[in-house]
């Protein structure tokens, strides 16, 4: 239960930290950390408007997305705190829950009948398709390295006998890049763009309003925190006292949000045709990690 609570707390601050970092870096004071949550609160109290062409999918998709991500949150170990749901092979369900959330977003975008949303949906499908192998190869490497098959055990890297800080850093790098793609951040997408033609995720929610938009935003905050928690799990030894683990968890979350904000301040987004290359590069780095693990375990 503590793990879920920590992810929810982190998700409440994560987006705010990114916005605040970007503001500070660009010389502005910026909004308060909780501003994104306040925006969600405002949206929650607004009414719903549906496009005339939309059907039942547009109505159920946001709720399915939120619950898929919430269940995924329940499966993530947080710095040694046991997740609510944990079993052998749970990482497959975890990946499929993220995929289900993406699938619902895509069909909801198609359901709206807008050509712009269809365009964004097709891009989201392509990028999702390309980034999933990176996650699976990475987890396969961890399974081989630790000999375990549940997320709680495979992310207990610092406690394992084959642990090397280098692994933690590579995993953090790959998960960091997966986070950027899954959450449609710079350099793959720009959440602040105002041009529909270049949007990916934002264009898919153009027709959403009020409560539906609020829960989609909440889901995206939680997704950021989920990946941040995975990174913290690979870097924090589970054997540390609880207080230290909590402290390190929040430090890593703040650092991760800060890095994303920092990157977004100084980096422009890629041209659309460069995104595939970036995603393939992330897959290849995962493959290199997997090969290194094979050699480490003398399996090659």
């Amino acid at each position: 239960m503590i793990a879920l609570l920590l992810i929810l707390i982190a998700s409440a601050f994560f987006a705010g930290f990114i916005v605040r970092t970007k503001s500070i870096v660009s010389g502005r004071k910026g909004p308060v950390i909780l501003q994104p949550l306040k925006n969600v609160w405002v949206l929650l109290r607004k009414g719903l408007i549906y496009s005339e062409t939309s059907g039942a999918i547009s109505r159920i998709a946001p709720v399915v997305v939120l619950f898929a991500i919430l269940i995924a949150c329940m499966m993530v170990p947080v710095a040694g705190f046991r997740p609510i749901i944990s079993f052998e092979g749970d990482f497959i369900l975890f990946a499929y829950l993220l995929a289900l959330a993406r699938f619902m977003m895509i069909i909801s975008a198609f359901d709206s009948g807008s050509s712009f949303e269809g365009m964004g949906a097709s891009r989201e499908a392509l990028y999702g398709l390309l980034i999933e192998p990176a996650l699976f190869i990475l987890i396969a490497g961890l399974v081989v390295l630790t000999g375990n098959r549940s997320m709680m055990a495979i992310f207990d890297l610092p406690g394992g006998e084959n642990y090397n800080l280098i692994y933690g850093l590579i995993i953090s790098y790959v998960i960091g890049n997966i986070t950027l793609v899954e959450n449609s951040r710079v350099p793959v997408d720009d959440p602040k763009t105002h041009l529909e033609l270049t949007m990916i995720h934002e264009v898919m929610v153009l027709d959403m309003s009020g409560f539906n938009l609020a829960i989609i935003q909440l889901a995206s905050f939680m997704k950021l925190a989920v990946f941040g928690s995975l990174i913290s799990s690979t870097l924090i030894p589970y054997s540390l006292p609880e207080g230290w683990r909590l402290l390190l968890f929040f430090i890593i979350q703040v650092l991760f949000a800060g890095i994303i904000g920092f990157v977004e301040s100084f980096r422009t987004r890629f041209r659309m045709n460069r995104n595939q290359q970036f995603l393939l590069t992330v897959i290849l780095i995962s493959v290199i990690f997997f090969v290194v693990i094979l050699f480490t375990k003398n399996l090659f």
């Binding site: 393939l280 590069t281 290849l284 780095i285 290199i288 990690f289 090969v291 050699f295 480490t296 090659f300």
Partner: protein
Amino acid sequence: MLTLLYVLFGISLVYIAATEKFKHYIQVYTIQGVLLFGMAIIELKNFSFLNLSFILAETIIFKSIIVPYLLRKILLRTGIYNIHKRSLPGNYSVMLMMVMLGISLVLAKVLSMPSVNEVYTVIAYFTLFTGLLLVSARKLLFGHLVGFLIIENAVFLFSIAIGSEFPMLVNTGILLDIFIAVLIMSMFLTRIGHKMGGFEAETLSQLKD
């Protein structure tokens, strides 16, 4: 520490295959020189002044200082900064790199010998294929030039893999070969390239006695 060097070297190869800017080629080549120095020092069995100075000269001085300096000069003189727009797109380069990594693994396994370090063999094959990719998939001569230098890095890695079985003299000979090839290409790029009307590899075929 060695794991870090292996991984960084692998990532540097991925990067050089994916990037489209020649200045990144030079940066990656410089970093590779430092990484090779680290690997060679860690693997060095006989710490003698001669060995250390040879490794230092070949990696840091040659690969990380002199060659990058010359390459930068070439770029400034020729004014070419990006790969040719008709070159193989980065997507395909990265996909080919994945295939090459697989082939490197298979080759290292099939051709394995007890005295040879398999990790270095895999990295060496992977580096060799990356060099070949640059030579075959890049249209501008500068890409070929860096490709040959990367192939030389592969030879250096083979020498580490084989260890004491690989005489330093052979390594030096290969290094000189590559250096001469690079010098000739640099000459073409800086002296004749403008007169020939381009810096593409195809223009070399127009050269006559």
